[in-house]
Subunit: 300 residues, 2 copies
């Protein structure tokens, strides 16, 4: 899918801002090339879907108490995502050598440095969320959301389930639980932090947005599994066919390609419905709707 002109127009300046902020906030001078390895892992790559979700959600809610807080939440989330990729690519995990079209961090900098770079990216995420100036309540709330989404009942837990099931069949229910944690938790967290920056932490709008984030996260993973089968490494910027090769359970292996594709479309419908259920006027929701279409129709 080519991006819609409206979404492109919204995205481009924001992608530039995110890149500039990350460039500013990841200190190249950090000791013994650690900053270099971290920058290599984060800069110049990735779709930046998670930061965009933070920004689009904050904007849908009439923007936030502070642009700085939104940008920090957006970048912190991207740092967590980037660290997870660095560790996930290591030889003791997926042992992958290609990521975002470049050699993976451990190939480029060695395993020990990759381990430390991932660790320090996680720390930096929480450092970004807590500058001296700013609304302490929003900061504490974003830290809580991000920590939970990253941890054992979030991304790390999902990866542990993944590890434990290589070469095994999983029920669709278990597969969904795995992905809800492994990929879904961070995408949901993007929506939650965007809402938190806009002062929301409960109520019907919050809950509808949570349902939106959960559904979008699931759709994202189903599409990821489909692309692993239907796309090639060049387009993906990472090794294609990897899941099948590693005998990992996926939605495609569980449902078949056609049904997986159809389910992704069904999830998109549900995500749009959740946005409608927020009761917000249609106009501020447009970007979240466009992002949803992009997630489901993307080719990499």
């Amino acid at each position: 899918m080519s991006l819609s002109p409206a979404l492109l127009e919204w995205m481009q300046p924001r992608l530039n801002q995110v890149e500039q902020a990350l460039n500013l906030w990841i200190d190249a001078a950090a000791p013994a090339q650690l900053g270099q390895a971290m920058r290599y892992a984060v800069l110049d790559g990735g779709k930046r879907l998670r930061p965009l979700l933070v920004m689009a959600t904050a904007q849908a809610l009439g923007d936030a108490t502070s642009d700085d807080a939104v940008m920090r939440a957006a970048c912190a989330l991207e740092l967590i995502h980037a660290y997870s990729l660095v560790h996930d690519d290591m030889p003791c995990m997926d042992n992958d050598v290609l990521r975002r079209g470049k050699p993976t961090v451990h190939v480029q900098f060695g395993q020990a440095q990759a381990l430390l770079a991932g660790d320090a990216l996680q720390s930096l995420a929480f450092e970004l969320l807590t500058p001296e100036e700013g609304d302490a309540a929003v900061q504490a709330r974003c830290c809580a959301l991000l920590a939970r989404a990253s941890g054992y009942w979030g991304m790390a837990g999902g990866q542990a389930i993944d590890l434990a099931h290589v070469g095994q069949r999983m029920t669709l229910e278990n597969l969904q639980q795995m992905h809800r944690l492994k990929t879904g938790a961070l995408l949901l967290c993007g929506v939650q932090m965007g809402a938190a920056c806009a002062g929301f932490s409960q109520g019907p709008v919050w809950h509808a947005l949570e349902r939106f984030g959960q559904t979008l996260g699931l759709a994202f993973q189903v599409v990821d599994d489909v692309l692993d089968v239907t796309s090639d490494s060049m387009t993906l910027g990472k090794t294609a066919g990897k899941d099948a090769q590693a005998e990992k359970p996926t939605y495609v292996s569980a449902l078949g390609l056609d049904k997986a594709q159809a389910w992704a479309d069904e999830l998109a419908v549900q995500a749009h419905q959740a946005l409608t259920d927020t009761g917000l006027p249609e106009e501020p929701l447009i970007t979240l709707r466009e992002l949803t279409r992009w997630v489901v129709q993307r080719k990499h």
Copy 2:
């Protein structure tokens, strides 16, 4: 050194509280044995010096706004320390098989699980710091302090310097920079978070306590290097002589054993002076003084 009866009496109930809190807060039911690996890494072991520092500092300042906040800061710091040990022991780092008298986490659970357990322990630290109830300003401040102390300008940065200098001589100044980050940052953070829980974030008392924390951290590392040479694995609960074997620069290799020992004593004097410089009455400082003596005179 045997612990003084006064320190023992102060420590024992607090060590029990820390153990109970960690036991409660690290969820054994987390997916696919991840919670088990994390509990294995943290429970039933370690001196708990860092949590004790948090508690002793908060107490020295007339105790804190909330006992819960102090306990959470204490345990969060211990989780960061524990995660760093898990990752540091992995084959791509120090490749150690013995820690706290037990097989290391990757020996017991496999490398992939050890990697994830370390990652999730770091997330859990920030989750502990940010419960829904509580003073948001203290929470945000503790997150900021802990993130900075853990990251590339703290512990992770110190480990990167360490990695980069295996087999090389270092100047005493570089060695000090490395340890200020690698070990010192978390010990200092214990003092800082204890003070933050008691409502301090600046002023002469804060700065004197920072100097105390820095000096204590340095003393701790000098003693660690001495013990690596003079003690045995059974007493240490980890492999002795490891630094020399790995050709790591240490204070002993830089200064010689006698001078390193003498310097540890000198640092203890400076730490006590910093406590005096807080201007606080002597009585509430007693426990911090006792902890300082313990750090310098410990045998493991």
